[in-house]
């Protein structure tokens, strides 16, 4: 290495060291208030989970509501409700960022189905305005109808109508109440989407069956599959995070 190059290197090192110098600061207040808020949010969502009734056809989940649900008619339907219950359980605890269980929207009118399919495109942890859905389905003036269609979502949580907010940033209504909608937004804001296992060097979507057996100290979060690839991880073949 030439002297000039070496000097440039030292300069960059010094600059970086200056830039990243730790600030002297008063400690962050990790007060009881925060911990209490976290606990409270958890109990509100746990309470919701306890009240949920789930119905399914052999093709998929057809209803998620608070209150009692009808008995599954077939073994396949029973299996699906069990799967949905488990996935919702993990989702509400921040251990799942996607749903695998199929939904059955056969009984849903065309317009509403389009609205729900559009809502499904909103990425985990994000929100879009009602107007976004309306223009997405090629009906930009039907904002109110979109709101109604989402309000009648037969499978809330699984189809994310809670990710549709008002254009002014307000939450808008929700089938389980505005408070739950806010809690879900907070939950998704703190749930990562991609995690890698440091021992297998495989990156999965959070909630993948592989992730369940991962030790906590083997978990690293990635921002994208490309990022993970760039440091030697490969995408999981089961949950296929790159798809």
């Amino acid at each position: 290495m030439s002297d000039g190059k070496m000097q440039a290197q030292d300069q960059l090192d010094r600059l970086l060291a200056d830039y990243f110098r730790p600030e002297t600061t008063s400690p962050v207040d990790v007060g009881r208030r925060l911990a209490a808020a976290a606990r409270e949010s958890e109990t509100a969502l746990t309470r919701l989970e306890g009240k949920l009734g789930i119905e399914a056809t052999p093709r998929g989940i057809s209803l998620v509501r608070t209150g009692p649900a009808g008995k599954p008619a077939t073994a396949a339907a029973r299996k699906l409700t069990e799967q949905a219950r488990e996935e919702i359980h993990e989702y509400l605890r921040g251990q799942r960022a996607f749903f695998r269980v199929p939904v059955d929207l056969v009984a849903v009118p065309d317009f509403q189905r389009k609205v729900l399919e559009a809502a499904r495109l909103i990425p985990f942890g994000e929100a879009r305005p009602y107007a976004w859905i309306a223009s997405r389905i090629g009906n930009p003036r039907a904002v109110r109808a979109v709101g109604t269609a989402l309000g009648r979502n037969p499978v809330p949580l699984i189809l994310p109508c809670h990710r549709v907010w008002r254009s002014d940033g307000g939450l808008g209504g929700y089938i389980f109440g505005g408070a739950v909608k806010g809690r879900l937004a907070a939950l998704e804001r703190t749930t990562p989407v991609l995690e890698g296992c440091t021992s297998t060097r495989i990156v999965c979507r959070v909630g993948c069956i592989h992730g369940r057996h991962m030790r906590p100290d083997n978990r690293v979060v990635f921002a994208s599959v490309d990022d993970a690839r760039s440091v030697g991880y490969r995408p999981c073949k089961v949950c296929r995070p790159a798809a």
Binding site: V30, R189, V220, F222, S224, D227, V231
Partner: protein
């Protein structure tokens, strides 16, 4: 180091005083890493608080073979990287929509480092995270490897690539000013 592990044991038993000590000891460094990665003080404080909460909740799962700092940095970088992901998808959406319904904050770095800050934004995320950890706390390649769950060779190549990119960017800007 053993004193720190003892501290962690007390945290795991739910000792709030020990947790306060831990937070006091590390919050400065963690705030700097988060601040430099996320660009704003408010986001950094939010990330550090979330990291400490996760640390408190997961203290029982702490592996004593790890240095406490390594463990904390792992939790913090996990939080920060996820925040960067969210920001990337949000930006992509905001750019497409004229309405911009959800706030997209403009982060202002300290003026003295404006060039470096902008140059760092062009460095790929994984390399940027490693640079921050390397320069805030002078962590070794081994520690960096453990924090991000990658090999030491990957750490070295990512750092070298990041720095080469920075030199290029800063060179370009320097030339532009003259």
């Amino acid at each position: 180091m053993d004193a720190e592990r003892e501290l962690m044991e007390r945290v795991a038993r739910g000792d709030q005083g020990a947790f306060g000590d831990l937070a006091q000891r590390y919050s400065g460094k963690l705030l700097t890493v988060a601040g430099r990665l996320l660009g704003s003080r408010a986001d950094a404080e939010d990330a550090v608080q979330r990291a400490f909460l996760q640390c408190y909740a997961g203290a029982a799962g702490y592996n004593p073979q790890w240095a406490v700092s390594t463990w904390l940095y792992r939790i913090l970088t996990n939080v920060c990287v996820d925040e960067l992901r969210r920001r990337a998808t949000r930006t992509a959406y905001d750019e497409r929509s004229a309405a911009r319904p959800l706030s997209s904050s403009n982060h202002r770095p300290p003026d003295a480092y404006l060039d470096l800050h902008r140059a760092l934004e062009r460095v790929p995320r994984e390399a940027r995270v490693l640079l921050a950890l390397r320069y805030v706390d002078g962590l070794s390649y081994g520690e960096l490897a453990r924090i991000r769950g990658i090999t030491i060779n990957t750490v070295k190549s990512q750092l070298a690539r990041g720095k080469a990119l920075l030199r290029d960017e800063l060179g370009k800007r320097g030339a532009g000013h003259e």
